[in-house]
Every structure is written in structure tokens, then in C-alpha cells.
Amino acid sequence: MAMLEVNNIHTYYGNIHALKGVSITVEEKEIVTLIGGNGAGKTSTLRTISGLLKPRLGDIYFEGEKISDTPAHELVYKGITMVPEGRGIFARLTVFENLDMGAYSQPDRFTFDDDLDRVYQLFPRLKEREKQVSGTLSGGEQQMLATARALMANPRLLLMDEPSMGLAPILVESVFETIVEINKTGTTILLVEQNATVALSVANRGYVLQTGEIVLKDSAENLRKDEMVQKAYLGIE
């Protein structure tokens, strides 16, 4: 049984039909990437999975349990966490307080300290800035914070929405290194990226989304070789 199963979901913004029957499966311990142009519906897909949007049609199953009607905050307790597009840090809270919020769903104070150590090891920069109000961090630091915060919830499935957006090349590299590292510790990752080249280099499998529909799915390897993908998303002509 797949860890996450998205069955033919249709999601709307009022009368805008954003997702027109998207189906995705993610197996445990995988990195799966969703690529697609602007407005293809990548973010909408992630938001629907994470419970921020409700599909009007279709179901979502997480570890065999139907979750398409579960509100977002309860999904966190089930093990799904999202790093939202644009980072969504709490700008007026300090770095530490942001991380504490990440651990909101974790009842145990002891594991909190361990978890904190773990993410500080992953992002030493954040430890330096522990007391800084996070709104004044630079873009890259904010991205680290958002990722670290999500890890504080010990997710089993991590949804990441464009973690490399607006980052300097050197940081893009390190973000993807981190993603691989997180995945190695046993976290399943569903990754949305514009930077398809890099995304496909770390992912096991991928889906291509176009105007709210899945047009292609394959292993990352094959997708990278796909002519259409190369032309439309990798900028290779």
C-alpha cells in the first residue's frame, strides 16, 4: 500500500477550477517531485493534500486512511507536514519560537530538545540566530527556518513547495543536499519545484502537471530524458 494516495481530485478557488482530476501516489521513503509551469496547480495540489484546501471531488488516502475531509491541523498529528510556498515563517516570532511552533504537535518536551539539536546540526546558521526576530532574516535563512520548522514536527511525509525559490545558487545547492539528507533519515518527501533540473536529480520519481492535470509520470531518470520535458521545463532545446 502506498503511503500517500491521491485519487482524481478536483479543487476549486471559488469558480476557478484549479485541479482537474489529479492522481498521485507516493511510496514510503521516496522522493517524488511535481514539476510544471506557472499556475499548473502544483501548489494547489500540495495545499489540497495538506488540508488547506478541500477537494470538491476525489479522495486522498494517507497510510490507508481517508484524509480528504481532515482539517490541516489534524493532519500534522498524523505525520504530514508542509513547507509552504513563500516560506510562511512567523515574522514577529524569534527563530526559536518559530521552531517551537513547529513542534506544536509534539507532546514530549524531551524529544523537543533532541529534535532541536538535530535541526541545529542540520542548519548551524539558525543556532547562531536563535533569538533573532525571524522577519529580519535574509531570504535564504528564512528558507532554512521554514524547513527546520517543518522537521520539528517529525513528519513522516514532508511536502515541500519550491524550497529553492529566490535563493542564491550556492544555497540552492545546499537546500537540495539537505533534502537528500532528510530523506535518508527516513522521511518521505513530495517536492514541488520550478527548478526541474535539480529536482529531477534528487527525486526517485516525478509527475508533470499542466493546467491542473497530470500529463506525464515516470521515474526521474526517464523524465530527464523525455523530449517534451526537456523542451518545456529544462530549457534544453
Binding site: 476549486y12 478557488y13 471559488g14 469558480n15 484546501l53 470538491r56 490541516a72
Partner: protein, 520 residues
């Protein structure tokens, strides 16, 4: 099944509590009188009509029963279950309450010292003039029988028709029409537009002929609030500046007109027309004067400062300090009304004067709205920082919005004072600001017809609600909340606002809110 019962219990307790509150408010007496009169039942007690009360309870339980069965009307059994559970609970709630007050009453407890509507007479009324046990049992019986009846009737009605699907389709079509409506705005056929306007104008000009004195007066008040609404629409609706002290400019207009035309306290007695202009200028000037120090503040800071300004003006005009110059709490009497060629405007003629003023203001508002000024205001409302980066001198445009809004209010104030031939501090309370703001939003912000409809609702409705007497403001407050919940975009919204409020509302948690639009 369990869900049905649970839902029934929930709904039943809501209805039960509401009915108990109706009794506590004494609304049961009023409503029973109205109902009793409606079916010609003779009133038997001073506090209400017992027969009417039975009808009231019966109607309420019908309603409760039918809405309880709404969740599942697939078969008559489930309707019955919902009906029974809901009516049992309501019956228990209300009967227990009446039993309690009946008991207290028979123990000679003076309830009305604490609860104004409960005394021996009203308890007798609640018991239909019968004994405690009989009265309570009747009440319980009514709720039980009619609650179940309501549920079954609803099931029966639904079984007969299956029109739901069609309804949904209509909804979708309506939404689709929305976008194109705005698109049409630029290309609309001017001829048909003018014909429409012409017809409307004709109606507007004929109606006063058929209104009595009272409605002419009431409509005049509505008209003056339309003027103010149009002014505040510029400040709040277009420029996005929340002004809670709008009454200040209304007061300045009214007092300027009053002081310059009345014999006392200042013996000036200048004629109406020049003073009207002067009132507008004074109000606009006050708008600028207030604007200079405060317009750099954002959002709610501006709101509280303007609220303060309104209060300052009100406190000042009733203060001892200024009493010798502005009349103090007694206000100004014998304000001169306008006259033209020796004929004084009064009654109908005055209403026409107000209508002409409204039409002029609508014209100007339209011009402004569709010019670079209007766009600058809107841009400021949406994102002030970026608006400034577009080369818009935001302070200048804010001042202009403030001054224009103030000028309209000043016009309203002058017309108001001259019509009543009296003005005093009690005419310029915070409630005026609140009413104008509310009419704007109830009507539909940013839309001129909305302002007019809003003024009718806000100032006309309380006049209509006079029937309800003591409960006028109670019902008014409740309706305001109800209105916002069922139709937040207002009765007649601008297409722009309508789409703002309806797009994305269905499935999404809200993004961060801003004052008038969605983005910060």
C-alpha cells in the same frame, strides 16, 4: 440515526435557548399580540395575547422541526426521528423554564426586580391564564406536536419536488455572469443606459408627490444619509481610510448653516444659499485641517483618531466653554430654510432639493471614480506603498479624499439643519458616524446604488420598525449582524467587491485580511 438525534438535540437546544431569550426580552408578548391581532383573537391579559402565544410557539416549532429534518429527508422515518428529538428538547427547555418562573411566581418572588419582563401578569400570560401544571403541559404539547408535524411536512414537501439541481445551476450561471459584467462596464451601450437612467429619474421625481408628510420627511432624512454615504464612500470605499468620526463634518456643516442663518446665538441671519456654499467649504476645510496631522497614520489608528475627532466636536458644541457662541446643549433654533424667488422650500419641495443635491453628487462621484483621481484612491486602498511608488502623491490624494468626503457631509449637514430648522448636539453623536458607515457596508461598498439602498435600510428600516417600539434597536442590531452574515458584500454591491468576497471563500482558509480589500 445517532447523528440525527444528535443534530436534533443540538438544534433543539439552540431553539430552546432562543425562545427563552424571547421570553426574557418580552418579545413573546409583542409577537403574540401581533399574531393574535392577525387572526383576530381577543386579548385576555394586559401583557399579551395567549392565543397568539400558542400560535407563536406552534410556528416556531414547525420551523424547528422542518429545519431539523433538513439533514436527512430521504425517508419519513428519519424525518420523524429528527422531529421528535428536536421538539422534545425545545419542549423540555421551554417548559422547564416556564415551570421555574411559574414556581417562583407562586412563591411570591419578585422576579421583575431583576428581570424586567417577568412579573405575575406575564407569568399568567405564559401559562395562558391557567394553572401552573396545565399551562406547562400545554406548552410542552404544542412544541411536541408541531415540531413533529414540521419535520413530516418538510419531508412531504421535499418528496414532492426535486428542484434542487436546477437551483445549483442558476448559482453557477450567476457567478459566471459576474466577470463579464465588469468587462461590459466599459463597452456598455450608452443609449440603453441613458434610457434606464431617465426612467429611474422619472420615478425619483414622481414619488414624492405620492408620499405623505411623514414619509416625505423620512425620505428626506434617508436622502441626507445618502449624501453622507456617498461622501464616506469616497473616504472609506475608494481611498480605504477608515473614518469613524465622519459626523464631525456633518456637524460642522449643520452648525455653520445654523449659526449663520439663525437669529441666535449669533445675530447674523445671512441667507441660505451663500451659507450652503460656505458650509461645504467649511467642512472641506475642516477635513483638510484634520487630515494634515493624522493622515500619515494607518488603518485602525486613523479610525480611532477620527472617532476622537468626532467626539471632540460633539463635546465642544455642547460644552459650557463654547455655549455662548454655538448654543450649548440647547442647540440652535429657528434656522432659516432656503427659498427661491420668494417661495420657501418645505415638505415636498425640500425633498426635491435633496434629490437634486444627491444627483449632482452622484454625477461628481462618478466623474471622480472613473478618473485618475479615482484610480489613485483605489490604488492607495489596495497597497499604499506601491501606490506611492507609482508616482501618486498619497498624502495629497488622501487629503483630497478626506476633503471631498467632508464637503459632502457638510452639504448634508447644512441641508439637515435647514430642513429641521433646528440642530443640537444630540443630532451629532457617534451613532451618526456608525449609521453612515453601516449603510455603506450594508448597501454594498463602492457602489452608488448600494449607498442608496443602504440608506433606505439603515434610516428607513428603523422607521418601519417603529411598530416594534421598545424592540426597535434590539431588532435593528440583530438584523445588522444577520445581514452581514448572509450577505457580507452588501445588498447591492459593486461587481468588484462582489467578486472579491465570493472568490475563494468556499474552500479556503482566509489569507491575511486587510481593511477593505483582501491584500495588504
Amino acid at each position: 440515526m445517532k447523528d440525527l438525534i444528535k443534530q436534533g438535540l443540538r438544534l433543539g437546544s439552540i431553539f430552546g435557548v432562543v425562545i427563552i431569550f424571547l421570553i426574557l426580552f418580552g418579545l413573546t408578548s409583542t409577537l403574540s399580540d401581533i399574531l393574535g391581532e392577525f387572526v383576530n383573537l381577543e386579548s385576555r391579559t394586559r401583557t399579551g395575547n395567549p392565543g397568539g402565544l400558542m400560535i407563536l410557539f406552534a410556528l416556531l416549532s414547525l420551523w424547528a422541526g422542518s429545519s431539523a429534518s433538513a439533514s436527512d429527508r430521504s425517508n419519513w422515518k428519519s424525518a420523524l426521528v429528527s422531529g421528535v428529538s428536536v421538539s422534545l428538547i425545545i419542549g423540555l427547555f421551554v417548559a422547564a423554564f416556564i415551570l421555574l418562573v411559574g414556581f417562583l411566581d407562586s412563591a411570591d418572588v419578585e422576579m421583575r426586580d431583576y428581570l424586567a419582563q417577568l412579573d405575575h401578569l406575564s407569568v399568567q400570560f405564559l401559562l395562558y391564564g391557567r394553572s401552573l401544571i396545565a399551562g406547562v403541559l400545554i406548552t410542552f404539547g404544542i412544541f411536541l406536536i408541531f415540531g413533529i408535524l414540521g419535520a413530516l411536512l418538510a419531508y412531504w414537501y421535499e418528496a414532492k419536488q426535486a428542484g434542487e439541481v436546477i437551483q445549483k445551476q442558476v448559482l453557477v450561471l450567476k457567478e459566471k455572469a459576474l466577470d463579464s459584467k465588469l468587462a461590459k462596464q466599459y463597452k456598455e451601450n450608452p443609449r440603453s443606459k441613458w434610457i434606464g437612467y431617465g426612467l429611474l429619474g422619472l420615478v425619483v421625481f414622481i414619488t414624492p408627490q405620492f408620499l405623505g408628510k411623514y414619509w416625505n420627511y423620512a425620505m428626506g432624512t434617508v436622502g441626507i444619509y445618502v449624501l453622507m454615504g456617498l461622501g464616506l464612500n469616497i473616504v472609506v470605499g475608494l481611498a480605504g481610510l477608515l473614518d469613524l468620526g465622519y459626523v464631525a463634518f456633518f456637524a460642522i456643516g449643520a452648525y455653520t448653516a445654523g449659526l449663520l442663518t439663525a437669529p441666535a446665538p449669533l445675530p447674523l441671519q445671512i441667507g441660505f444659499w451663500p451659507v450652503l456654499i460656505f458650509s461645504i467649504v467649511m467642512a472641506a476645510f475642516a477635513g483638510i485641517l484634520l487630515g494634515i496631522p493624522v493622515l500619515r497614520m494607518r488603518g485602525d489608528y486613523l479610525a480611532i483618531v477620527t472617532l476622537g475627532f468626532g467626539e471632540i466636536i460633539r463635546v465642544l458644541i455642547r460644552s459650557d466653554m463654547l455655549a455662548p457662541y454655538v448654543g450649548g446643549p440647547q442647540g440652535i433654533r429657528d434656522i432659516a430654510g432656503p427659498s427661491l424667488f420668494g417661495i420657501a422650500f418645505s415638505g415636498k419641495a425640500y425633498l426635491y432639493l435633496i434629490i437634486i443635491a444627491i444627483l449632482l453628487i452622484i454625477l461628481f462621484t462618478n466623474y471622480l471614480q472613473n478618473s485618475k483621481v479615482g484610480r489613485a484612491w483605489m490604488a492607495m486602498r489596495e497597497d499604499e506603498t506601491v501606490a506611492q511608488a507609482m508616482g501618486i502623491n498619497t498624502l495629497y490624494y488622501k487629503l483630497m479624499a478626506f476633503a471631498t468626503g467632508a464637503a459632502f457631509a457638510g452639504l448634508g449637514g447644512a441641508l439637515f439643519a435647514a430642513r429641521n430648522q433646528y440642530t443640537g448636539p444630540a443630532d451629532h453623536t457617534l451613532m451618526v458616524s456608525i449609521n453612515v458607515l453601516s449603510l455603506l457596508i450594508v448597501g454594498g461598498m463602492g457602489s452608488i446604488p448600494g449607498v442608496i439602498v443602504g440608506a433606505f435600510v439603515l434610516k428607513g428600516l428603523p422607521e418601519i420598525l417603529r411598530e416594534l417600539d421598545l424592540y426597535r434597536l434590539l431588532v435593528f442590531g440583530g438584523l445588522l449582524v444577520f445581514m452581514m452574515i448572509i450577505r457580507p458584500e452588501g445588498i447591492w454591491p459593486a461587481p468588484r467587491r462582489r467578486m472579491e468576497l465570493h472568490e475563494g471563500e468556499l474552500d479556503v482558509l482566509p489569507p491575511e485580511e486587510s481593511l477593505v480589500g483582501k491584500e495588504g
